[in-house]
């Protein structure tokens, strides 16, 4: 045992003068009496207690001495293990959805908060702590501080999220410890996330015990183009920890959670179950719910939602000498991605330059010529060249293999300064870029697809389709439901950036691309008359399937619980009270 404030032990030297003062204080008052012989008779029956009476003052003194010693020891802050008192603590509280699990009437998050409060209360005066919360990302709640009141107040305001835990956030912490060198990172968690074993730099304190749970971990609904009457395909994946095949009803509802469309009796097996794939006729577009009808301590994963969208084909006009573009648009018409139109097109596919006779705000321009608002100086053709993809993850090219194709009729031109070069040639000429000028947006393909037989390759329709969807903000990969905590795809984010977003809790906030979908339920994005409805749900296997019992705490010994100093002070208080009773008995009788 060591003392963190050994200077306080000097106060023990006051014990002797205090004892002397005490003995003077308890010296009995002298009273003269004429009736001592009668007092003798009164007390002659109580000789048995005489020894205790004689020792009572000394017993009281002993109690007070112990109480005083306890107070001094409390001030000296005893410590029962070796500790670097200058080491900072980063207290991270898992605020993911699984921490909402109820155990013995309290959520795991409440337990984590209680534990964190105990750790904070045991901080040494010189010791600093950082309070952080992690779910989809790591949030630093407070800076390094030794002010316990400030830390506890911040802790009190922490709330759990309904998002899954993102272990990458902790990995970031493990990799970037420089912002708090020499610190200890303590994660208070239920362990419902993957990759815990890899977080060597983070000490984990496990809270709660694994409980049986079942939930929906995957849900999707899409409109099928089968030609049947409004047929929709549904995909549901469930997971369970119940050891036996437990029977449960899976309910599908539309519009509102009360509007039940279908009920499936399920037999859940332990682990991730085989997905349910089914088709429903006359499935109306809009909000859909999948509900696992089972009362559990963790109920967030029992209800999930999704949006069934009606495809909205992009109205496309063509201004080109060849019919290949018209053939492609017609090919996309069946999947309701594009359709040809002559009036008010959303997008124009053209060759050479921006057509003057068709008004639109979005253009796809092949084989640029002369000058345009989207380039300058086209007119010096280059030799055929291979493409160098500048942004392989870009929506436009991530499903294409452009580096194998050879492009012809490449013009030497200069794109506007704000252009995004997706692909270029080896000598630096822009091959494919996205640009915007005067409120108009365009994809410029600086080559002739009809030359070199590029139009015959499979990449050409993919490229054209991706360009149309990207320009119109109608990404084909927009899922029926997003996982809580995720961000919207770039194309959607760009389209609705600065617009407003109606949250599941009916609040309207300004939308920015960095807004995470933290609440489960239905969202609506609105901007310039455009509306996009989408859903978010937990759909997290680690949250539904709690960790195995083998998952152990990895935290080194840490002062928590009731502080030793507090126990010592409480002991002192009890002893003083006891002595006070004895003293009162002696002085008042």
């Amino acid at each position: 045992m060591t003392f963190l404030n050994p200077a306080a032990l000097w106060w023990l030297f006051l014990l002797l003068p205090l004892a002397a003062l005490y003995l003077l204080k308890v010296r009995p008052e002298r009273h003269q009496t004429t009736l001592l012989f009668l007092w003798e008779k009164v007390f002659e029956k109580k000789h048995s207690a005489a020894v205790f009476k004689r020792l009572r003052n000394w017993l009281s003194l002993l109690l007070l001495a112990i109480a005083y010693t306890a107070v001094v020891l409390a001030l000296a802050k005893p410590c029962f293990y070796q500790i670097n008192k200058h080491r900072k603590l980063i207290i991270i509280i898992d605020s993911s959805a699984s921490m909402n699990t109820l155990q013995n009437g309290k959520t795991l998050f409440d337990r984590a908060r209680t534990k964190a409060a105990a750790i904070i209360k045991n901080l040494l005066p010189s010791q600093q702590a950082v309070l952080a919360a992690v779910s989809t990302d790591l949030r630093i709640i407070t800076g390094a501080s030794s002010n316990q009141h400030y830390l506890l107040k911040a802790l009190e305001q922490l709330r759990p999220t309904e998002c899954a835990m993102n272990p990458d956030a902790l990995s970031f912490l493990a990799k970037h410890r420089d912002f708090c060198p020499g610190s200890r990172a303590i994660l208070l968690t239920d362990g419902c996330f993957r990759g815990a074993s890899k977080l060597k730099a983070v000490e984990m304190i496990r809270l709660g015990k694994p409980k049986q749970n079942a939930g929906i971990v995957g849900f999707d609904i899409i409109r099928l183009q089968s030609g049947k009457n409004n047929e929709a395909g549904i995909f549901i994946s469930c997971a369970s920890t119940y050891p036996d095949n437990s029977e449960v009803d899976l309910v599908l509802a539309h519009g509102k959670i009360e509007n039940i469309v279908k009920v499936f009796p399920l037999k859940l097996k332990k682990g991730i179950n085989k997905p349910i794939i089914l088709k429903i006729e006359n499935a109306a577009a809009g909000k859909w719910f999948a509900i696992l009808d089972k009362a559990e301590s963790f109920a967030l994963d029992n209800v999930t939602c999704a949006v069934l969208r009606e495809p909205q084909p992009v109205k496309t006009a063509i201004s080109a000498s060849t019919s290949i573009y018209e053939m492609l648009v017609n090919a996309y018409r069946h999947s309701k991605i594009m359709e040809l139109t002559d009036k008010t097109p959303e997008i124009v596919i053209c060759e050479g330059n921006v057509p003057e006779n068709i008004a639109a705000e979005k253009y796809i321009i092949f084989k640029p010529e002369n000058n345009s608002i989207f380039w300058k100086g086209a007119g010096r053709p280059q030799s055929p060249q291979h493409a160098v993809v500048e942004k392989p993850a870009h929506q436009l090219v991530k499903f294409c293999r452009l580096d194998e194709a050879k492009f012809e009729e490449i013009q030497e031109l200069t794109p506007p300064a704000n252009s995004v070069i997706v692909a270029s040639t080896a000598n630096g000429q822009p091959l494919i870029y996205k640009t915007a000028r005067n409120g108009k947006t365009a994809y410029v393909f600086n080559f002739d697809p009809m030359r070199g037989d590029f139009f015959l390759q499979v990449d050409f329709p993919v490229l054209l389709g991706a360009a149309v969807m990207d320009l119109c903000g109608k990404t084909p990969q927009l899922p029926a439901v997003f996982k809580t905590g995720s961000l919207l795809p770039e194309a959607v984010a760009a389209t609705f950036n600065g617009g407003s977003m109606l949250l599941p809790n009916r609040k309207i906030v300004k939308y920015t691309p960095d807004k995470h979908l933290v609440l489960p339920g239905f969202y609506t994005l609105m901007k310039n008359g455009q509306r996009l409805q989408f859903a978010a749900a937990l759909l997290s296997v680690p949250d539904t399937l709690p960790p195995r019992p083998e998952f152990k705490s990895t935290a080194q010994p840490l002062e928590s619980g009731i502080p030793v100093s507090f126990i010592l002070l409480a002991t002192a208080l009890v002893l003083v009270t006891l002595e006070e009773i004895l003293y009162n008995r002696r002085k008042v009788g």
């Binding site: 009995p28 009273h31 003269q32 004429t34 009736l35 001592l36 009668l38 009164v42």
Partner: protein
């Protein structure tokens, strides 16, 4: 504090003396009737003549009628001896003032009635305060002697004092004992001794409220005011109640001892003025048989 020689105090004594004269109904001469027969002027009884009797006492008229010699007996009139035995031990601290006042008042009445008065102080031994005195001219010396008397001794040895008192071959008379009667010796034995010596006895118990009720609590060191003996005790409500009961028992014992022996007994709380106590004694009797 009223001194015994203050005019006001003496005026009070005068009033008490008048009251005593009225109550007791005596004359100013020492004319207290005693049981003895003697040569007074008041006829008392007849008795048979015996050889040696005074011829002058033979009632010849009776002899003429009955031819039997009888002699007349007359009541003997003599002065009364009053002995004031006042407790002057240290235990009377706080109570000796009243004891002096009571003794002064009774002494005043006695001297005013031309009785013979002797005052003794009691403690661990007997100490004379006033030698046998007679007549009103001894009033002031008596009061001065009581005023100047100091508490003395290391204990109240009642038995020893009575023995010393009787060893002085006193004539039998009225013994008035003024004390708190918190004595360690055998009280009953002493009273019996006085009675055996044909004294009339009257006990006047002086006490204060602190003697009866214990208001001490907690750890205290009790020191005997007479012997200086100390004892550390813890007094709680139970102990205080036991002490009060012990005092009550003790006082009952003293009262019972007097009652059994036909001895007059009165109590004198220090909180009550002395004249009221004397008036009460005179009105309710018991002082003079």
């Amino acid at each position: 504090m009223l001194k015994l020689t203050d005019p006001e105090f003496i005026r009070k004594l005068e009033m008490l003396s008048l009251l005593a004269r009225k109550v007791l109904g005596g004359t100013l001469k020492a004319d207290r009737k005693t049981a003895k027969k003697g040569s007074g002027t008041t006829f008392a009884d007849y008795t048979e003549y015996n050889f040696g009797d005074d011829y002058r006492s033979i009632d010849w008229n009776i002899y003429a009628r009955l031819e039997h010699l009888v002699i007349k007996l007359f009541e003997l009139e003599e002065d009364l001896h009053i002995y004031l035995l006042v407790d002057f031990s240290h235990s009377m601290y706080g109570k000796s003032r009243l004891a002096r006042q009571l003794a002064g008042a009774l002494g005043y009445i006695a001297l005013n009635n031309l009785d013979r008065l002797t005052v003794y102080a009691l403690a661990d031994h007997l100490k004379p305060i006033l030698k046998p005195a007679h007549g009103r001219n001894r009033l002031l010396p008596m009061l001065q002697a009581l005023e100047s008397a100091e508490c003395f001794g290391h204990d109240t040895d009642f038995e020893q004092c009575i023995k010393e008192f009787q060893s002085r071959k006193h004539r039998s008379g009225l013994c008035i004992i003024i004390s708190d009667f918190f004595v360690s010796g055998a009280l009953e034995k002493s009273l019996d001794y006085l009675l055996w010596n044909r004294h009339d006895l009257f006990c006047l118990q002086v006490y204060s409220e602190t003697d009866v009720q214990c208001k001490l609590r907690g750890d205290v060191e009790l020191q005997c005011i007479e012997t200086g003996e100390k004892r550390r005790v813890t007094i709680g409500p139970a102990e205080a109640a036991r002490f009060t009961a012990a005092v009550k028992t003790w006082n009952n014992r003293v009262q019972q001892a007097c009652k059994q022996r036909g001895i007059g007994f009165a109590t004198a709380p220090v909180e009550v003025p002395f004249e009221l106590i004397i008036q009460n004694i005179l009105r309710h009797g018991g002082l003079v048989k």
